[in-house]
Amino acid sequence: MSDAAKALLFLVSCVLTDNFFFTRALGERAALRGAGEMSATVVMGGAVALVMAVSSVAASALYRFALVPLRLEYLYTVLAFGVVAGALFLVLNALKRKNPLNLERPAALHGLIAVSSAALGAALIGAGAEYDFLYGALGGVFGGLGFWLAVVLMAGVRERVALSDVPESLKGLPISLISAGLIALAFLGFSGFARSLAW
């Protein structure tokens, strides 16, 4: 199989079969709560995907070219979190005018909370022994695209649910979680596809 075909299959597996939210349950705050209106949520999802991509590349490089040679792998979680915070700061400064996470200033704590599980998840999973630097970094980039898809899908579901008559005890998070479960069930249909390149 050519490298381009392998990369394409890897993209499909990151977006569909091993989606960061629907398969790995990461990025829960961004996907389940969104940012209010659909347009703001799309921008927010894109910003989180960008943070995932940037932090995944940087963290993968840090792990493979610095920590592994120096046998300091146990420091990876803390350093990866620092990389995520730095990536968030850079991305939000670049997107200052849009301010997609509605922060008062870049890298505020709730911004970190919003992206931490998705971006840190991309960094930690990418450091697995089965991936080299390229696929470890690409996993975060392609995973970010899949996460963006998940955020947009959940925003659409929330808009439909808002117009429905939902029982009181199901309002808010419960109905969002059940809806996410039903969409995840649909994504389960893609499992087995590109399994050999599972991320």
Partner: protein, 200 residues
């Protein structure tokens, strides 16, 4: 209710909304033992980060407090991961990279108790302990239910041949649906208690 961020934004009140931080564990908590391990790690990380921050609070400038807490939470999550690898290697292997993720997310939720202007160390730590107990109970309950319904066992003990497990519950979609159902039940109980308190 205090700390109900969603209600503050005009949404439905979510007294258990903070449990969302434990959601990353849903992908791998498919047994009671792993749920207990993940919950214990989250409790440990939450309390450790809170203890260190309350001790150093006076020495850290207010504008640096948020990032310092986040970094402390990351250190605490890392320590929880390493401790669990020593104490319980099988659940640690099952949880993999999701353990520090869940522990970190849970630890970060404790910051609200430490940023209040009327901060008192004892009260903040008690609230943190209560929150950590919530994570422990939630993750253990979800792990037990997923193991019982999805595999027909509980902490490794088979429940009997007559029971037909529902494989879906042990997968991520089933985890989402189960978590949503449990949250709905918890919110229903909380609203009944609130109405009963108003009526009295």
């Amino acid at each position: 209710m205090r700390n109900d961020a969603n209600a503050a934004r005009g949404g439905a009140p979510e007294p258990f909304g903070y449990l969302l931080a434990a959601l990353p564990a849903l992908a791998v908590v498919t047994a009671g033992a792993t749920g207990l391990a993940a919950g214990a790690a989250a409790l440990f990380a939450l309390i450790l980060a809170g203890l260190i921050l309350s001790a150093l609070r006076g020495l850290i400038r207010p504008e640096a407090r948020a990032f310092s807490f986040a970094l402390l939470a990351a250190v605490a999550a890392s320590m929880a991961d390493m401790l669990l690898l020593l104490i319980a290697p099988k659940p640690s292997a099952a949880l993999g990279p999701y353990l520090p993720l869940a522990a970190l997310g849970c630890a970060l939720t404790g910051y609200r108790e430490f940023e209040a202007p009327d901060f008192k160390a004892g009260r903040a730590l008690l609230l943190t302990l209560r929150r950590g107990a919530g994570f422990l109970i939630a993750l253990t309950l979800i792990g037990c239910l997923r193991e019982a319904l999805g595999s027909g066992a509980l902490f490794g003990l088979q429940l009997g041949d007559a029971f037909q497990p529902m494989r879906l519950i042990a997968l991520t979609p089933g985890g989402f649906i189960l978590a949503g159902t449990l949250l709905a039940v918890a919110q229903w109980i909380a609203s009944k208690r609130a109405k009963g308190g108003e009526g009295a």
